[in-house]
């Protein structure tokens, strides 16, 4: 066991997989010589050379397309789109090409492609650098979507994503990059599609993703002082969603709150709520609630971010309101 931060855990994951399998390559803006725009591929160029760790021009569409074509011809590429806010420039390659290739061609091609990207929600960088758009890709069959909240999950999910034969959109919260956790030195794989119950509880279920997981745990701590036992579930994989774990929890707690950094409308919380509706309606003592930033772009500046985004306090308040 060694303490690793989220960023280095990801680098370790990629390094281990690149060592294990020569077909794994990394492609993106500043991933090589610069070691990543956020330092999240440090050391990889030196270890694997400029053919396998390839810096690209600012060409998002071909960054993903390179991955699609390479995956169709035997490679296992990781392509990096610096911020998820830029997905509007490459969503065709992600959703029409990568996602559908295996399907359209009746299984003739596999698509072992990781689309690595990040969100900087709450980092004050303004409207073009603060979006979390997991539901865009969650809506598309053929894609898997992953969003780890801890260093350990980040490492294990990244390794699993690289080994998966399907295209996986891998979303990192930049605000988590420096968080530390003890991680086993050995092989670590976290299965895609499995939620993690981060805290057990019997009174209410809080489903939280990314940045919100730690806050939900903080809120649970506070609530526990009032005798409220909160179960905190981190789905980790957005699609396919491990709804069984969530439903099992709701059957026990009879209440659920979903907390995300993304928009409520047509968002992750709506999907979870609708699934609980269909599968556990008669277990519910209160309506499932969604706690998210309001329906607005993110203005520049942390003062706005603090105001707009859920925190431990507002999560606890929302839970209390549900228990009234």
């Amino acid at each position: 066991m060694a303490p690793k931060n989220y960023c280095w855990a990801l680098i370790d994951a990629i390094r281990e997989e690149m060592e294990r399998d020569d077909d794994v390559v990394l492609i993106g803006e500043d991933v090589g010589a610069a070691g990543g725009a956020f330092g999240a591929s440090r050391g990889l160029l030196d270890a694997f050379g400029p053919m396998r760790v390839r810096d690209t021009p600012i060409s998002e569409e071909i960054i993903v397309g390179l991955g699609v074509g390479a995956a169709m011809t035997g490679k296992r590429p990781i392509v990096e789109i610096m911020f998820m806010d830029f997905f509007g420039l490459c969503l065709d390659q992600i959703c029409n090409q990568a996602a559908k290739m295996h399907y359209m061609y009746n299984g003739a091609f596999k698509m072992p492609l990781v689309i690595r990207t990040s969100t900087a929600v709450e980092m004050g960088i303004g409207p073009h650098h603060s979006q979390l758009l997991e539901s865009w890709v969650g809506h598309v069959p053929g894609l898997k979507v992953v969003m780890p909240s801890t260093p350990r999950d980040a490492k294990g999910l990244m390794k699993a994503a690289i080994r998966d034969d399907n295209p996986v959109v891998f979303i990192e919260h930049l605000a988590l990059h420096r968080n530390k956790e003890d991680i086993d030195e050995g092989e670590l794989l976290v299965p895609l599609g499995k939620a993690d119950v981060k805290r057990k509880g019997r009174d209410v279920t809080v489903v939280a993703t990314g940045l919100m997981v730690a806050r939900a745990l903080d809120a649970a701590e506070t609530l526990a002082k009032d005798g409220i036992e909160t179960e905190v579930i981190d789905p980790r994989t957005i699609s396919p969603l491990d709804i069984d774990t969530i439903v099992a929890s709701v059957e026990k707690t009879n209440r659920a709150l979903v907390v995300t950094s993304s928009m409520k409308q047509f968002g992750f919380g709506s999907e979870v709520s609708a699934e609980i509706m269909e599968r556990a309606f008669f277990h519910l003592d209160a309506p499932v609630q969604r706690l998210t930033p309001p329906f607005t772009p993110a203005p520049f500046g942390k003062h706005f971010d603090e105001y707009l985004n859920p925190n431990a306090g507002s999560i606890a308040d929302a839970v209390r309101a549900m228990l009234k």
Binding site: E61, V68, A70, T73, G74, H102
Partner: protein, 320 residues
Amino acid sequence: MTDKIELFERMALIRQCELQLNEAFAKNLFPGYIHSYLGQEACAVGMCAPLSNEDKIVSTHRGRGHYLAKGMALEPMVAEMFGKETGICGGRAGEMHAADPDLGILGGNGIVGAGLPIAAGAAYSAQLDGTGAVTVAFFGEGASNNGSFGETMNVAAAWKLPLVLVCENNLYAEMTPFSDTVGEKDVAKRAVGYGMQGEVVDGNDVLAVREAAERAVERARKGGGPTLLELKTYRWGGHFEGDPRKYRTRDEEKEWQERCPLRRFREKLIESGEAKEAELDAIEEQMKADVAKAIEMALAADTPAPETAHDHVYVPGEVA
């Protein structure tokens, strides 16, 4: 049979395929649109001539010529167009899509221009492997105005990818004449700005296309990087069958039909003594019969069981 006769045969095969599919369409036997490759046969056949099965191609919505030129089996290809379960992709890919990994055919595309970045990816893959395999990206002049074109040109040149970019300039994108949408009518001229070799080729002369293809493929194989070839040609039919073609004159069409790539090649072969009229007639007859049989088989085949729609959404298997 000399290799030129093979070229002729391949062109005749494509010609027959397109003619007879159009007939099936006219008789209401075809499910959906047909994007006919009639008139462009020399492009696909000339370009694929120097390619082996290790080499890849990426195609478009107008892909049958490319598929056949690269060796896709006729019957499953035709069945695919009809959406039948005997199709090369089980009938689910359909008229704008077909692929065959073993032959290096990486598929058509319903999204104009989307094949270009994918072709670059395949070329990068070959570059990594150092096999000398080359990727040919087919696309229309219309696609050359999409963002993906510039990104691909630049990356291909910067990385010296073993890629041949083949723009079949058939003068129209759907109903819009190319000249209405550009400031410069030679797509090949864009090469220089990206540090790439560019060449305009008579796309209705299969030998000219083959020569250009050989040069470009050779360059790519040897690590000399990509080439942009612009094949000037003409789409004989409408954008799809049934399109009334109001955007151009029948005279213009006639003029281009006089430059028929198949007839020109036939005349050349006979003139030079490389083939006899009867021999070529026999080939054409054979191709006609082969296609007729393929269509007959396709018509007789079943559509896939609708429940197969659920297959292959994901590759199965747990990793961890």
